[in-house]
């Protein structure tokens, strides 16, 4: 009897770890950092962390949709740059173009890039890895041609608003990121479309047979991801007041990492927008904390690698 009770308890602990592993890891990280550095637990610093990671965060929202279908989007970094450069060009001081037009053009660019990948993936059956890699290099090529490899500066004050203003203590970027989290969660969890995203990631054939419009659903996740990437590009360029043709490089990896730390599986069918947020926080807090603690960047890498491993290990106890 006693033994039974014991084993029941054991199961519970590992179950809790399994279910809340990353959350616990995040909490531990948070507490440790609070004690280690007294600059960590301040309102400004916490908002800073959110603001500094909003760009990756917005990317990760779109990436989550893609990953849940079992896909991958390697083009988001290049889309960040392309959308940012198109928009900043139009938003340069004295261009005479209303800032909203600049923003719309940026977003449409992202949507178009996403649609491009989506078409090849959903219709032509090209593996997402290749299709989005191609979109990535093509978009990067276009932005280099467009800017001649030079940053676009001198953007109007209106354009800077999103990236450089705070409402009280809350940076506008943070508000926007939270908005993406809310809308993303809603779309993925509470709508038919979201269900279909999970369905095709969980078993594409079964989804097809059930009458899910697999092609359209798959196509749309890349459009969503492209949209998010473009928005991230707008945020980034507004924040640094520059359109960087070489910007956003490698961001895809950060976005994917956040989603996976947050529980998404690259083989599809699993993941959540909120999870991607947790992933962003784990990495963001780690970077911020280690910087505050003045840890040399070489050692930071070693520590980061180890901690991400531990965080995910706690999470994957399940099986």
């Amino acid at each position: 009897m006693n033994k039974n009770v014991d084993s029941a308890k054991k199961i519970d602990i590992s179950k809790i770890l399994g279910k809340y592993g990353v959350y616990i890891a995040l909490l531990v990280l948070f507490v440790v950092m609070s004690f280690a550095s007294n600059s960590f637990l301040t309102v400004t610093n916490l908002f800073n962390i959110l603001k500094q990671n909003a760009v990756y965060g917005v990317l990760a929202v779109g990436m989550t949709f893609v990953i849940v279908t079992g896909g991958i989007d390697l083009s988001v970094g290049a889309i960040v740059a392309l959308a940012a450069c198109f928009a900043t060009k139009l938003a340069q001081d004295g261009s005479g173009v209303p800032v909203i037009v600049a923003i719309l053009v940026g977003l449409i660019t992202g949507v178009a890039c996403g649609a491009f990948s989506g078409l090849f993936i959903a219709i032509a059956n090209i593996p997402a890895f290749i299709a989005t890699l191609a979109t990535c290099t093509i978009a990067r090529g276009i932005v280099f041609v467009f800017t001649d490899g030079r940053p676009i500066t001198g953007v109007s004050d209106a354009y800077k608003y999103m990236g450089r203003t705070s409402w009280g203590p809350v940076p506008v970027m943070v508000v926007i990121y939270l908005l993406f989290l809310v809308v993303g969660t809603f779309l993925l969890k509470y709508t038919k479309y979201g269900r279909h995203v999970f369905a095709i990631g969980g078993n594409k054939r079964a989804a097809l047979v059930s009458g899910v419009n697999v092609k359209m659903t798959e196509f749309l996740v890349y459009v969503i991801s492209g949209f998010c990437a473009a928005f991230a590009g707008l945020l980034l360029s507004s924040r640094i007041q520059t359109g960087q043709p070489a910007g956003g490089e490698g961001y895809e990896l950060d976005a994917i990492t956040a989603a996976v730390i947050g529980g998404a599986s690259l083989s599809g069918g699993k993941g959540s927008v909120f999870g991607s947020f947790i992933g962003i926080l784990v990495v963001g807090i780690l970077t911020n904390g280690l910087d505050l603690l003045n840890v040399s960047s070489y050692y930071q890498q070693i520590i980061k690698g180890a901690i991400i491993l531990l965080a995910v290990m706690a999470d994957r106890k399940k099986d």
């Binding site: 509470y190 097809l208 047979v209």
Partner: protein
Amino acid sequence: MANEYLLEIKNVRKEFPGVVALDNVSLFLKRGEIHALVGENGAGKSTLMKILAGIYSLDQGEILYDGKPFQAKKPVDALEKGIAMVHQELDLIPEMTVEENVFAGREKSNGIVIDKRGMEKRTKDLMESLGIDISPKTKIKELSTAQQQMVAITRALAFDAEIIIMDEPTSAITDREVEQLFKIIRKLKAQGKAIVYISHKMDEIYSLTDQITVFRDGCLIGSVATKDVTPEKLINMMVGRELNDVYDKSSPKTEDYDENEVLLKVENLTRENEFYNINFEVKRGEILGFFGLMGAGRTEVMDTVFGLRKAEKGTVTMKGNQMGTVKKAISNGMAYITEDRKISGLNLIASVKDNISIAYMDMVTKGKFLIDFKKEKENADELIKKIKIKCSSRDTLAGTLSGGNQQKIVIAKWFMGNPDLLIMDEPTRGIDIGAKAEIYKLMDMLVKSGKSIIMISSETPELLGMSDRVIVMHEGYQTGEFRCGELDQDKLMAYAIGEGNKYHQ
């Protein structure tokens, strides 16, 4: 004026690379009719139904729905026309819940937000009417194959379809659920719906259907009223020859095995929430049957015996050696035909040959490491012939074979090793009558040469026909053990539902 036929499928032809799956076949379906579609494995039954359901397109021929030409380009077209299908391969989404699966693609919503509550309730109601008790919130991956099959059936019934296609819906479920299903099918018939029923089980065909259409090798053999055809004649139409005494077990069903060496000994085996205190022995030369209702825990016991799950308490001893891992099990002569070919039986994207050799690679290697391709090919060809796997070549991908033929690969793979103890979990799931007889013969040969078999089966005739001894399980407990002579169907069922004590007086 309504047409005589709700559905007319005329002169359909369908080719896959290297195979003519259907050649000039037709099928006519009336309202209020339960229409059996039968034929050997690979005859083309599923293919025709998939054409109807919009999964494949046809190469030639035409389909009339209520007199008007109809061809579904994608599954959703068929669904919208009121054609629902229970797929042979179930096609569920493992990470999603029962409710999510039932409503996949046809979710209820208020226009924007999905109505989760409503869908859960409807799922629960439907399942209750089928006599099953599974929470709509359970993930599919947590269900047994049998339970999954019930979910697939629920899904097909959820949308008030006009034509319901059932492709071997009872291959994994037990008699109790079958009865419940039949009641519902008859009710649908009474409502004027049309049902296409594909099955390899003769008793089902005779007790349920009105009309039978027979395919063989992609060709139409004929269509007859059920009442006008004898089982012998029907089998003849299917296989093209006479077939007698399917459950032919020539080895004596006596107690002789008592004296034989104990091959496998299972003592006090327990896994919390799955099964408790399981004890049994397998002697050389015997076939030990396992019976139970769906969810009784038989699969879990065998998984544990084979080392796929860790025993929490108790021991498994094979030939005197303590077991615990798959590696040990196999090296001590155990083999395990699992109940779900797609999840744990086959590599669908590998060839028939590669699937056959994977468990006993050492038999087709030179010096442990290097593959002996010649030997491997010969070996595969031999088994393909012996078990009658219908495939265009040994290099065909397993995933492109018909369901029954896929099952045969799993059987071939384990027969290859000539194991001392073969555990078979629902081994004849989806296998046609002719091939079943072959498999029974192989089983017979195996035990005659001093090997043993554990057979889990929900088909009582097969279980009673083949076993020397039967163990019955109920909700994780061993409720009875019988010699074959002592058994009948009612008694089995009584013990399976936990009311065996009635028989004790």
